[in-house]
Structure formats: C-alpha cells, structure tokens
C-alpha cells in the first residue's frame, strides 16, 4: 500500500496508471528494476498494476491431461504475483508443432510450449528454442538435473546442449482385461513374449474374442523393433535401419497375426480410436497405449466391470520400448524478463511435487528419482500397481530418433506397414526396402 501511495505522489499515475500490460509499463518496470526499487507497483487506488509479466504457454491434448496442465498453471499463478501464465490448448502434438512454427515465423510464439520429444531436434536446430544449459547451471541447486530419471534425458539434449526438461513423459505399456483372460483360462500375468501373445491370441479366438485391436502407430513399431534388438535408424541417423531383419520382424509378425484374424489392425485416421473402443467394449483383451492412459483406463475398467492389469510390452529377444510424451521448452526471441519468467515456470512445472501430481492424475511417468522414492508414490504404487509398470519398464527404454526428417520418415514407415497389413500376400521385406530407399534420400541430406 505504501509503495502505491508513493507512486501516486511521484506522479506515476499520470503516466501509467490504469493502462495495464502495455509496452510503456514494461519499459517502466525495467527502469524501476534498475533503480533497485520495489517491483510491486500500485495504481492510485492501491490496486496492484503492471508489475506482472504475462507469458503464454501452449499445450497439447484434452481430458485428464488438460486438467492436470491447467491445474498446475493455476497453482503456479497463485503461488506468486510476478508472473501470469496464460495456458492455451492447441490440439494434438502435430497441430501444436505446426502452430508453434507458424507463430514463431510470425513473431508471436508462446514463451513456453509442450514439445513432443522426437521433434526436439528439428525445433532446436532451426533456432526456435532457447538453450537452457545456462539457466540450469545457474540454478542447479533448484532444478537438480541429476534428479531426473537419466533415461528421460536422452531427448532433452540436442548436440550436447540442453533444450527441454521432461514434463509429461511416457512409455507404451500393455493394458489387459484380466477378467477376460481368466474366463478364457489364461494367466493374467502373461503374455510376456511375442510367442505367448500368439498363444494367448489363439485361445482368445476360440472364445470369440480378439486378442488385440491395434493401430499402425510408429511409436509401437519402434518398441517392437527394439524388442527384436534393432533400431529404426542407423546409429548416426543418416540412413534407415528398419529394412534390417529386426525392423522387418515386427511387420511380418503383425501381418501374419492379422491374416489369421488373431490381431485386428485397422488402418486410417480412426484406427487408434477403434482400438480403444474395442478394448473398452471388451471385444479385445489387450491394447497397447501410453502410460498416460492409466487413470482413464482404470475408470473405464471400473465402469464396465472388469479388472485392469498392465504389464510391459511383450518381449521378442528382449523387452524394449521408446520413451514418449513431451518436454517443456522455451522459445527463443524472448526478452530477458520473459526468459526468466519462462524458466521459473518450467522449473515449477517439473518439480518433484508437481511431477507426482501429474503422475497420479493422468498416469504419465513421475520424472524425478525423488518422486519415485517418495512415500506418497510408494503407497500409491502398492494400491495401484498399474501406475508402476511404465516406471519399471524404463530399464528397457530408449530415446526416440530426433533427425530433422524423422516426421516424414515416420509417415513412410507407417504407409509401408499399412500396405503390408492391407495386402496379406505382400512381402514385408520388399515393402520395407522400398520405404528405406525413399527414407535414405531424406536422411542423407
């Protein structure tokens, strides 16, 4: 109050009173900061004005994910009175990325945005992202980089520089209708391998059920390639590796099981939704899905009266999954104040306390070791072991490729695999060779 009165006496009201947020206030605030005077300013009636810096935060997805993100933003805004974060929904990751890019080109990018991990490379190399190494060094006591689960940091660095902090991170896991499995006389602990999955599928088929409805999702494909002991791209990222035996094995497996009617693999835009619906309606016993679906799936299982079990994706030579989800990044071209505000916001969103919150609300991984070791989560895991599957599976997790051309290569792989599924007599090796040839042209650039 006193500050406010002084401001009035000093005549500040005549210059800025009542005009919120504009450039003038911004400039005045900076001057004030240099003068070493209070950052809190008031208008003549004592109302706090202008001292707040407003930054935009763009995020992806709705439902529980959106609830958690909005809740955290509200908490952040309530926790202090210097920074106001305005959160805006932008659709799925693809929509979000396209909009951030366009907004950046137009000079109107959000200060902070979700970024799907595989796109970190292209965004960072295009100069759209603010490097965070300096901030993390300065605030290392607070941000504690080594507290993040090491397996989640692979996509945080591009060319050795830090660009993002793990936020809502995931691995794909296998959701199981344990009730259906028991009714078919199957052990709900399994299937642990591809062969067992096939055996389960035969038994389930006899009971008139589909083992699994599954979209051709490259994230799952990356997992199956890893399980076969391979990678989709070569070590240096300059060429395709999905035409290798390890890359073709999943395609052959899917094609064969789909042909025999053991797996249902719809193609097209609605395929993912169909897989979820089939599982929810108890037409299929399993679904692959991000751990982000644990809370939602538990609700579905409860509502439809069946028991939900979750486990690792089955192994071929070994277990293996890519990580997924998004990290929080800061765009470049911000003023110093905006950078500080954005950094403070990113640190808040990724703190131990908040990663526990988002994990329990949605199902995404807790990203910090201190979170996993906390009493709160230990108790939580005991009560709902489904939440712990992805955490344990991290032992077998790997980062996703981050090459600039990877989004387009993803499309090529997806098309190739869909071709093999649609035409059961097609030769998977030939189809993958053809796609690899196309992909190599892009990757070699």
């Amino acid at each position: 109050m006193k500050d406010g009165k002084e401001d009035c006496i000093a005549g500040a009201c005549h210059r800025a009173g009542g005009r919120d947020g504009g450039m003038r206030l911004e400039r005045k605030r900076r001057q004030r900061g240099r003068d070493g005077r209070s950052h809190v300013r008031h208008d003549c009636s004592g109302r706090i004005i202008g001292q707040k810096i407003t930054i935009k935060y763009w995020y992806a997805f709705g439902d529980k994910i959106e609830e958690a993100k909005r809740h955290l933003v509200e908490q952040f805004n309530a926790s202090q009175d210097r920074i106001e974060v305005v959160a805006e929904h932008q659709g799925n990751y693809d929509d979000l990325h396209a909009k951030v890019q366009a907004a950046f080109a137009a000079g109107n990018a959000p200060a902070v945005t979700d970024l799907e991990i595989a796109s970190t490379g292209v965004f960072a190399r295009s100069g759209m992202l603010q490097e965070l190494t300096g901030f993390a060094d300065r605030d290392k006591e607070k941000v504690k980089l080594d507290d993040f689960i090491p397996g989640l940091m692979g996509n945080a660095y591009v060319d050795g520089k830090l660009y993002g902090l793990p936020f809502m991170r995931s691995t794909p896991i296998m959701y199981k209708n344990a009730t259906m499995l028991k009714e078919a006389g199957l052990d709900p602990e399994g299937p642990k391998t591809w062969d067992e999955l096939e055996q389960y599928a035969r038994v389930l088929k006899e009971h008139g059920k589909t083992a699994m409805t599954m979209p051709v999702d490259i994230w799952f494909y990356e997992a199956l390639v890893a399980q076969s002991g391979g990678t989709v791209l070569s070590e240096d990222g300059k060429s395709a590796a999905f035409q290798s035996p390890e890359g073709v094995a999943p395609v052959e497996f899917w094609q064969r099981l789909a042909k025999e009617g053991l797996l249902k693999i719809p193609v097209g835009d609605e395929a993912g939704a169909t897989a979820d619906k089939d599982w929810a309606n108890q037409l299929s016993a399993f679904k692959f899905g991000s751990t982000a679906g644990v809370s939602g799936s538990l609700e579905i299982a409860k509502g439809n009266g069946f028991e939900l079990a979750a486990s690792f994706m089955p192994a071929n030579k070994s277990y293996g999954v890519p990580t997924g989800g998004c990290q929080l990044v800061m765009t470049s071209k911000l003023s110093d104040e905006e950078k500080e505000a954005a950094w403070e916001f990113i640190m808040f969103m990724t703190s131990t306390e908040n990663t526990i919150y988002q994990h329990k609300h949605v199902g995404y991984l807790p990203t910090r070791l201190t979170a996993i070791e906390s009493e709160e989560l230990k108790t939580h895991f005991k009560e709902f072991p489904q939440y712990k599957v992805a955490v344990d599976q991290l032992e077998y997790a790997r980062p996703r490729p981050m090459e600039n051309a990877y989004p387009e290569v993803t499309k090529m792989m997806k098309e190739a695999i869909e071709k093999a599924i649609l035409d059961p007599n097609a030769n998977p090796q030939e189809i993958m060779n053809e796609a690899a040839e196309k992909a190599n042209k892009l990757l070699a650039k």
Binding site: A102, P266, E415, K419, L422
Partner: protein, 290 residues
C-alpha cells in the same frame, strides 16, 4: 482539369489495389520466390537450390499419386454434384410446401461448417460402429471400410463433398430455371414438343451459363479440397486421399519443408490457372448467352 481530377480515380481504386497487392500478389510472388529455396520457415539461413524442388516434386511417386488423387476427386465431385443438382432442381422447380421443405433440407449442409460435417461423417462412416454400415447391412450388403481402406476412402470423401455442395448447386440451378422466360415454353408447347426435346433443345441451352458457372466454381473448389481430408483421413490410408492442398500443408507444416511446399503451391497455381483459362475458352464457345 485540376490535378485532383486526374488523380481522383487512382485515389478511389487505391484501397482495392493495396489490398489486392498485399494479400494476393505479394503472397504469390513470395511463394514463387520461396519455391527456389530449401528452407524451414524459421531457420535464419535459406539455401538457394534453383529448380531442385520442382525436379524432386516431378520425380516423386507420392506427388504423382497426389496429383492423380486430386484429379480423380475433382472429376467425380464436379460430375456428380452437377448432374444430381440439375436433376433435383428440375424436380424441385415448383411451388409447394413439400418441395420447399426438401429444398431447405438439402440446402442446410451448405451452411454447416465443414469441420462439423467432417466429424459427423467420420462417425457415420466408422467401419465398426457407424450408422452407414448398419443401414447397408439392413439391405444385406457387407460392411464397407469407407475411409479406412485405400479402395473406398477417396470415394467416401467425394460423397461428403457432394452432400455438402448439392444444396447450393440446386439452388443456383433453380434460380437459373426460373429465369428462363415462360413464353419460350408456351411456344414449345404450341409446337407439341416432347418433354425430352424441350429439355434437351430448350432448357439445357438456356441453362448453359448456369452450368458453366457451377462447373467452374466446383472445379476450382474441389481442386483445393483440404478440411475434410485434414480431419477425416490425414491423407491416408497409404496416401490414398492425399490431395494437392493437403500435401502442401503436410510438407510445409508437418515436415517443415517450406521451399518444397511452395513449389507444390506453384504447381497448384499453374494447374488451376490453366484449367480456368482452358474451360473459359472451350466452354465459352458452347455457352448460350442471352
């Protein structure tokens, strides 16, 4: 004659010229300029590559597929819409409560946002849970995969486009029919002209400006189809519904290849421009203008 009088016309057209230049000419020339570069829209460096983008496009089998998809989609949509709308207009061209109701009903899709329509039809065409498969099931036909199979996906999109465009086209046709003077029909009746002869020798020629107008705007509209594809198929499955504008969007905003996307944009510009000129030339000779 003062200077003011000389300058006034220019002053009057200036706003239109400025807007035309800013939002039409400038983007076109900027696109042509960008098509010569390898750039991702945001990186500080643009690499000049000459005509390499065009060479890559024309040797890319995906792009050829995209062109043939677009052509097929356009031909089917324009033909079906025009024929169905003409038939409906002939039937609806009379005054009764029922005909008015039908006309209103088929016009209503025109005022609904394409996004809503796309979502609605995605649901209708769902292979598992969709209403359409249930209906054709009642008549003993097997379930169709609609949007989820390369064989039916493009036709499914054509159905949506025809359904959406039918009402507007019918309305324009009815207006065209009603503007044909009644005395010509009286004369035809006096000559005991058969209905088919009246239609072929009288109605159709009198309607040809309307047909011409609709074909042109449908053609240009169909060539630029985007929303239904972005929402219903994303160009899939296996590129079977990827059309020119979606391809441009995909390359520009999903794969961040602005130069390549601009090159495809230049090709779209050339095609639509050429089609317009050809159709104006060809059809203008046959069109009967009063």
């Amino acid at each position: 004659m003062t200077i003011w009088h000389k300058l006034r016309p220019y002053g009057m057209v200036a706003p239109a010229i400025v807007i035309f230049t800013m939002f039409f000419l400038y983007p076109i020339f900027y696109m042509i300029y960008l098509s010569l570069f390898d750039w991702n829209f945001v990186s500080p460096t643009k690499t000049f590559v000459g005509l390499a983008n065009f060479r890559d496009l024309l040797t890319d089998s995906d792009f050829m597929k995209v062109l043939s998809n677009t052509t097929m989609y356009t031909l089917l949509t324009v033909t079906l819409t025009t024929i169905l709308a003409l038939l409906l207009a002939l039937w609806l061209n009379r005054k009764s409560l029922f005909h008015g109701f039908v006309q209103g009903a088929i016009f209503s899709p025109h005022i609904i946002s394409l996004v809503s329509i796309s979502l609605l039809w995605s649901w209708l065409m769902d292979p598992e849970y969709g209403l359409l498969n249930w209906i054709i099931g009642l008549f003993g036909f097997g379930p169709l995969q609609w949007l989820s199979h390369p064989g039916t996906s493009l036709v499914s999109l054509v159905i949506v486009a025809v359904w959406k465009g039918l009402g507007y086209n019918t309305l324009v046709f009815i207006a065209g029919l009603q503007s044909i003077p009644g005395d010509i029909y009286e004369a035809a009746a006096l000559d005991e002209s058969k209905p088919w002869t009246t239609f072929a020798k009288l109605t159709l020629p009198m309607l040809s400006p309307t047909i011409f107008f609709l074909v042109i705007i449908n053609l240009i509209g169909s060539f630029q189809v985007f929303e239904t594809i972005a929402i219903m198929t994303q160009g899939g499955p296996v590129n079977s519904t990827n059309t020119l504008v979606y391809y441009i969007y995909e390359n520009g905003f999903r794969f961040f290849k602005i130069g390549y996307a601009s090159a495809a944009g230049v090709i779209l510009l050339v095609i639509v421009g050429a089609l317009t000129i050809v159709y104006f030339r060809l059809l203008a000779r046959r069109v009967h203008y009063r």
